[in-house]
Symmetry: none
Subunit: 190 residues, 4 copies
């Protein structure tokens, strides 16, 4: 008896990520995923109910991974602005340095594959960030504006910037990153 391989699920996820990055979500074929993962097509269906299911898992997987990256070096004993800046740079760095994941999440987001519940679930991952914004407001450091509005403002700007400036020959320079943060901070500061 071979036991259902924990590893194999990861191999499939990884293979799919690479394919979407290289060829795009639109041309993604189950048979290609199998080939890329060096397994049989049928095996895919042991680990995932169908294509949609695989893509939803994929989305959740990298959404969580990106959230983990986001929280790095955050230390609530430090001043708000320090953490805010760290968070912002974490996000930007991750988005710029992992264009694979970013592309994936973006392509999936406007695809018909994603189930609403999965999108909802990923939304919950933002909860700690919302709390942090609340803390910033309490300290009267940032504007008293609806969290969702601020979040949309922050994510939207950072996402597009990362997308536009992730290609190697036009990656954001350290100064540009500082400038962009300056814009962001001016936008939200009280």
């Amino acid at each position: 008896m071979k036991s259902k391989d924990e590893l194999k699920e990861g191999i499939i996820i990884r293979a799919t990520l690479q394919l979407i990055f290289r060829e795009g979500l639109a041309g993604l074929k189950m048979s290609d995923i199998a080939k890329q993962a060096s397994i049989a097509v049928g095996t895919l269906y042991i680990y995932f109910k169908n294509k949609e299911d695989l893509l939803n898992h994929l989305f959740l997987h990298f959404k969580r991974e990106s959230m983990t990256q986001l929280a790095q070096k955050i230390d609530f004993s430090l001043p708000f602005k320090v953490n805010f800046k760290q968070l912002w740079f974490n996000y930007l760095t991750y988005a710029i340095d992992n264009p694979e994941q970013a592309t994936l999440l973006e392509q999936l987001h406007c695809s018909p594959y994603l189930r609403p519940e999965v999108i909802e679930e990923t939304d919950k991952l933002l909860q700690p960030i919302r709390e942090m914004l609340n803390e910033g407001k309490r300290q009267m450091l940032i504007k008293n504006i609806d969290n969702e509005l601020i979040l949309a403002f922050l994510s939207g700007s950072i996402n597009l910037i990362a997308r536009r400036f992730s290609e190697n020959d036009r990656k954001l320079s350290p100064e540009q990153r500082e400038q962009t943060f300056e814009m962001t901070w001016d936008a939200v500061r009280a």
Copy 2:
């Protein structure tokens, strides 16, 4: 003859817009477009070389339309900030009030259908806005940051906000719009 052609072309474009909004880009079938436009499938191929061609035309069509909306009430004899605010509100209003088009442009943007040249062409439409930013910098009213960075910052934030807040029951209130503009202006002001 010309007018007849253009009329039908418009009908097809309009029909496609509605279908993408209702059913999404992924499920879009040529036969459905034909049905929605009350013509035969074959006729589609008289006006457009193929599906890709149709979608590229569609993209360009609404990109231009949105740009026209954008320029409304802009008057270069007025002060920079007045125009900047007007432009910003034009964009936001259009994006919120025409979720159909916004959805369309967004869905198309991360689809494999769009030709690079078309994306490039739409980029040119932003030229006047770039000039305006230059003027703002000359007057030392806005930060001296790379235009593309500013544009990405502005478009990104406004797009995501519009998407998140375009459903009828959570449309942005006038105050929220003002608040958002405040963030934007603080971000770019010198």
Copy 3:
């Protein structure tokens, strides 16, 4: 414009019949049907929603055809027994001489493809025969037994006999047919 061919539906039905007879229902492939009918696979789906739909139409088609055969030379001005015998011989002859159809109807009957409504509909085709049985009872020529019971008795016996004796080298001889009818008549006569 080519108009949807009335004929083609018949061609498909005919091709399917031959295939089921030659190869059996179990191995029936849509691609083979298309080949046999000298059309493209896709064309099948213009005339029939899917495989199940095609097979249901097939069933109904030949059920009706067999019913038409059944009614031949029936003349209600003739005495009951004459008609009864004629009917019985019509059925037996059809079943023996068209083993293709018989095989088909039988195979379909115990397949998962047939929709209950279709089976119901074919049941209605027996109505005239039920009336005839009623007439026979009124004339006190046949036993006063529930029609459904008589029908099951008649169909069951005749079906199995036809199946067992339809191969060329053991077809029922005229005497055997008379003998079988004698059994049948003795069974139902009052």
Copy 4:
């Protein structure tokens, strides 16, 4: 060892019977059989060479079982008609009360799984009944008609009746059973 094997073989056979009755032969999957029998798929292939082999065994198993039922209370010292009636009632009762088996045998019969030799072998099981018919003819109690014809007549009618009237809410009443036997006896009596 032997007994252990036979036990498991029986469990598999039993599980398959239930599945075919509940879900039909067409949807029958080896994996489902394994689940129903609470064993692993691989184990099926220890007891049966393949699916076809399993189904042939199944067919033979229940064919034999039904024959055993058939012979109950038959006593050749009793008069012919008594035995004939007993036999007939045995068959009818078994068919009505064990719709599971009846469904199974019927579904298998028009499936591509059954090997001709197996069908032949089951035919041999009818030998005692043929002898009985011969005895009836010798005593000039029944018509002098080819045994196969009589058998087909009897089985066909009884099978269809049992199928039509085996559902609980329309099971044949004792009177109806008597009536049906009356038809049968009239059919065969000399």
